[in-house]
């Protein structure tokens, strides 16, 4: 059977006679990799562009149309030692990139205007004390207006738009007072300038915009980075399937190009990307990603196969019943939507507080103006005082208090391997006081590992590893990895569903089912742990039993201990067998566990804890966890999780260790502490400054300086969120 790979789905036109593809590449992290990849790919004839982006770990390639098959780039990268997959920019990510560029452009314009207006303001301030001709002062004011007005009109767009959206929905947000404050300050400055007044406040308005834009840009940038990493991981999952394009011809196509009714081939060791029914072949499939159950299921004609199941032994032909989108996932998604809606009520409560702020500020400013007029001040002085109130109460410090801490903390979390998926995850994670772990794929690693390597003679084990290289079976792969085998044994034959055999120097070697190796008796006698799968190895008359299982994450025990030291309750809820869960719980020192739990039971348990006032952090992987992830107060998933649970978990962590769970809790607690501190700082500042502004002592310029001062104080305080204790 001939297999071709078809990547035309990902190829884009890049100008006359040029084609373009983006590849996500695994393992690029330094200048060396970058140079190696770019040289290696540029050396191919007809390649016109090969450029690595180190920030999002992608390669952009362009070549002359029709000269090269994109699959060759992937082969070339494999020769260079990098795993690469074609990448399709998700529309959500493209929007984030465009948004972030726009913010940077606004920031550039605002910063330019601030510097130039300041250059003109400083002579005016000093000139007011010494001797500046009124004409010169007016000239400088007009120049400031010339710079500040168009700059503010352009750079203020993010705020004006958001304020307009809020107003047209008949609500308010933080951007409404910002927009009104900026517009009023600018408008009043123009009026002042026309009347040859001593003070204009172009500098205050434009500086305010610059400060706010810095905060927005940093926040946006963090989110864009997270999204890029998530996009790569989706691409690296290599969502392709082997589709039959002729009776005996298969083509490796992206899942997006597969439709219901197509027939795909599922080879041993492959994960199914579609839902369907087996029409030919016999095999065992591992559905642990879907059900949490680690025992294999036998599949033959008529057995349904769900996306995410791993084919273990034989080759299967599967008729697709639903392509990647409309699947079992859709069912769970409906469950999820309900759970998510229930939670947003809590968020609405938090929003209401910030929405109250705007009307209070506007009322205060208006009352100030009316009050001063009532007590006999001129309209001009009253309006100046009113604007000072607006500027000084500008929710800058208040608006920065939470987002800056959030940005700094999420940056620190990103460095320790945690990605944030939802805006208020930090606040909720900090409150968590009980952690529920799923077992399969969360406390354990999704890859299999050999547990009894020390019980087997080294030379026999090495041979077993080399023999294992000739099989696609995941258990064989685990044996080969454990040995570190590189050279397969020549002439090894794989017998489907049984094992591999070969002969070396006249001695017969077999690796596979115990019956295949004549080791049934040995397996029956051996004391094996409940969770392990067993594979036998025979060399001549010698028999060995190799036991393979999903290993616990290397630092799982330390992490559980660290959580208990922080007085956080720990418990395991798993859909797996009693024996397997008990073994894991005892190995980790977890006092409370439940085995054989269905998704509905998990939610019931979470609700029960909730009713007792306990804030639950659910750490889970597997699609059956998705509804409970959404039901918990806050949730976290390892990145190896099925798509769905990643999309719903509030936080996602990377890599093999479990330590990011503790790090995330530490960072979020510190962050919440600093958020509260910042809020008090901002509120305290307002309590002090607002009465002074209302009393009319403060000019808008001093108000702007005070506002900036408080913002800087809040920002500096936020930087402390980077350092949290890192002990596990």
């Amino acid at each position: 059977m001939q297999v071709t790979r078809d990547f035309s789905h990902y190829v884009k036109e890049a100008g006359p006679g040029l084609q373009h593809i983006d590849l996500a590449v695994e393992g690029v992290h330094c200048a060396g990799c970058m140079a190696k990849i770019e040289r290696g790919l540029s050396a191919m004839p007809d390649v016109t562009l090969a450029r690595v982006n180190l920030t999002n770990k992608r390669v952009a390639l362009e070549w002359k149309e029709g000269t090269l098959d994109p699959a060759r780039f992937i082969d070339r990268l494999a020769e260079l030692g990098y795993k690469a997959y074609p990448f399709e920019t998700a529309s959500a990510e493209a929007t984030e990139v465009a948004e972030s560029r726009f913010l940077l452009r606004c920031l550039g314009v605002a910063a330019f205007a601030t510097m130039n207006v300041m250059m003109l303001s400083i002579p005016v301030w000093s000139g007011n004390v010494s001797d500046m001709l009124p004409e010169q002062r007016d000239f400088f004011h007009w120049l400031s207006a010339l710079i500040a007005l168009p700059a503010a009109a352009y750079a203020g767009q993010p705020f004006f738009r958001s304020a307009w959206r809020a107003l047209s929905n008949k609500t308010t947000n933080m951007d409404v007072p910002i927009s009104i404050g900026v517009c009023l300050a600018l408008g009043m400055s123009v009026v002042e300038t026309i009347h040859h007044a001593e003070h204009a406040y172009f500098d205050a308005a434009i500086m305010l915009l610059t400060f706010l834009l810095v905060g927005r840009f940093l926040d946006q940038n963090m989110r864009r980075r997270t999204r890029a990493v998530a996009g790569n991981l989706a691409a690296l999952k290599a969502e392709t399937a082997a589709k039959f394009v002729g009776p005996d011809e298969i083509s490796q196509v992206p899942v997006a190009a597969i439709h219901p009714g197509d027939i795909v081939l599922l080879r041993p060791g492959e994960r199914s990307a579609v839902d369907g029914t087996v029409i030919e072949g016999r095999s065992e499939i591992d559905q642990s990603l879907i059900t949490g159950e680690t025992l294999y299921v036998t599949a033959d004609r008529g057995t349904p196969v769900y996306a995410g199941s791993m084919n273990v032994s034989g080759t299967l032909r599967v008729r697709v019943s639903a392509a990647s989108e409309a699947t079992l996932l859709a069912e769970i998604t409906r469950l999820l939507d309900n759970a998510l809606q229930a939670r947003s009520r809590y968020m609405r409560l938090a929003d209401r507080a910030s929405r109250l702020y705007a009307p209070v500020v506007h009322a205060a400013a208006l009352l100030t103006v009316l009050g001063w007029v009532f007590w006999g001040a001129s309209w001009h002085d009253a309006v100046v005082t009113g604007v000072a109130v607006l500027i000084i109460t500008c929710p800058c410090a208040l608006g920065l208090a939470i987002p800056t801490v959030q940005t700094v903390a999420s940056g620190a979390m990103f460095k320790s391997g945690v990605l944030l998926n939802s805006g208020d995850a930090i606040e909720r994670l900090a409150e968590a006081n009980h952690v529920i772990f799923d077992k399969t794929g969360t406390l354990t690693l999704p890859d299999l590992e050999v547990v009894n390597a020390s019980g087997i003679p080294a030379d026999a084990f090495a041979l077993a590893g080399r023999l294992a290289l000739s099989s696609h079976h995941p258990v064989a792969a685990a044996v080969a990895t454990a040995v570190g085998a590189k050279s397969p044994i020549v002439g090894a034959v794989e017998e489907a569903g049984q094992g591999v055999r070969a002969s070396v120097d006249g001695v017969e070697l077999r690796l596979g089912r115990p019956s295949f190796c004549g080791a049934e008796q040995l397996v029956r006698d051996a004391e094996l742990d409940a969770e392990a799968s067993v594979v036998a190895f025979s060399r001549g008359a010698e028999r060995f039993v190799i036991s393979v299982r999903q290993g616990l994450r290397p630092d799982a025990k330390a992490v559980i201990a660290a959580l208990q030291a922080r007085r956080i309750g720990v418990e395991i809820l798993s859909g797996d067998r009693e024996a397997a869960v008990t073994a894991a719980a005892q190995a980790l020192g977890v006092p409370e566990w439940r085995a054989g739990v269905t998704p509905a039971d998990k939610i019931a348990r979470i609700e029960e804890l909730k009713a007792r006032g306990i804030k639950v952090l659910m750490v889970g992987d597997g699609m059956n966890d998705a509804p409970s992830l959404a039901a918990a107060h806050v949730s976290m998933s390892p990145i190896s999780a099925a798509h769905l649970s990643q999309a719903t978990a509030d936080l996602v962590f990377l890599g093999k260790p479990l330590a990011p769970v503790v790090a995330a809790i530490d960072y979020s607690r510190k962050a919440l502490h600093l958020m509260r501190q910042n809020l008090w700082l901002a509120i305290g500042y307002n309590f002090l400054a607002v009465p002074i502004a209302i009393s009319g002592i403060v000019t808008p310029l001093i108000a702007a300086a005070a506002m900036s001062g408080s913002s800087i104080l809040v920002m500096l305080n936020a930087l402390r969120a980077r350092s949290a204790s890192r002990r596990v």
């Binding site: 200048a31 970058m34 140079a35 190696k36 180190l54 920030t55 560029r101 940077l104 330019f112 010169q136």
Partner: protein, 60 residues
Amino acid sequence: MEILVILVPLALALGLAGLVAFLWSLRSGQYDDLDGAAWRAIADDDPPPEPQADLAQAKR
């Protein structure tokens, strides 16, 4: 004070030149890969030993 006639336009022109340069650099994608740019600055132009064979071939 006539000097202002020269100095003010000069200052504004310089500022604008800076802004235009920034916008150009943004448009040409110089902020797309900040991590990579940091490494490229210190990367050697001479290729490391292994790919030198390629280079020799290319020269020929």
